[in-house]
Symmetry: C2
Subunit: 169 residues, 2 copies
DNA sequence: GGGCCGGTGAAATTGATTCTCAAATTCAAC
DNA sequence: GTTGAATTTGAGAATCAATTTCACCGGCCC
């Protein structure tokens, strides 16, 4: 059922998704992680994880909540927030903070570190990796005596399609 | 979780500030910009601009508000928010969104583009420039057909002092 | 010497996220 | 299967930064 087509999920991915996880694998991994620390597996968590890993791209909690509620309308927002936090803690999903004020999550199973190109017009998000840039970042950090644990590199601009669509402006 | 205590303003700058603006110059520049579009110069705006350019580092509105209220306790938060938005629109200040959930502003007069190293322990913010990284970013963008208008590069980790302070952990 | 207009500041609002708490669920041990 | 302790759930309240609203201000121009 296409519910009201609110904010379109940021379209992503130019080539076939490099995501290496099936929903089933993710559920299994999460339940292992949960069992290890005395937490409990629940139907809701499974459903949320299943939905998240069955989708692609960079989902906000809101977007994910809509998808989840298509399958079970009684699931509350708080549960989705809590579940995504657990997914992030367990390393199965990565939270991203782009500049729209919402936290977005992306699948993190079997994925390399990568950075993002973000179209400010259509909100497409394209991922890229660049080893040289990483090396230079490390170099800069060392020059300042810094020990870097993570970084954020985001390039904002117009994607090819949007450039063609709106020549100027 | 969020320490309620007045988080100290992130200390910045390892060498002498490269900021190239005096408060007076900034006031003048802003008033020109304001006059050009039929807005009005006000005592409050001057005071806020003066305070902002008289300080260094990356100030949150909250921190700036405190400083401003030391000089005139009747100035309201809304005015500081509005004034900083005007400063940003006029190009005299740059808004930055680091990962503490608040917008921080830095002086932008006579400054080059630069990126940031951020200590996750003491919240120091160090600025750096690296031409090679910029070039590589442009290259990556071109390879994806992107027209980049701005970017964000932030390296998070431990500064030298904090590494010494907490050898492990 | 009254309008006109933008500016001001206190309070209310918004929007994302987190917290609270009673009720429901999970799960290991009977 | 049943029990019971511990955890999870979901609705609504609370938070927090940021924005908006709105009634009052204060110059400036006829």
């Amino acid at each position: 059922m296409t519910t009201r087509s609110q904010t379109p999920a940021p379209r992503a991915r130019v080539r076939p998704p490099p995501d290496a996880a099936t929903p089933a694998e993710a559920r299994t991994r999460l339940n292992e992680w949960i069992a290890e620390r005395g937490l409990k597996a629940t139907r809701q968590r499974d459903l949320i994880v299943d939905t998240f890993f069955g989708a692609t791209g960079h989902l906000s909690v809101d977007e994910l909540l809509s998808k989840v509620q298509e399958r079970d309308e009684n699931i509350g927002a708080a549960t989705v927030y809590r579940t995504m936090k657990i997914l992030a803690d367990s390393g199965l999903a990565s939270p991203r903070h782009f500049e729209d004020g919402q936290t977005r999550y992306e699948a993190a199973i079997g994925r390399h570190h990568h950075d993002h190109l973000i179209c400010t017009s259509c909100h497409a998000i394209i991922e890229f990796e660049n080893e040289r840039i990483e090396e230079l970042q490390d170099l800069v950090a060392r020059q300042h005596g810094f020990l870097v644990t993570r970084h954020k590199l985001e390039l904002y601009g117009l994607c090819k399609a949007c450039q063609a669509r709106q020549p100027k402006r």
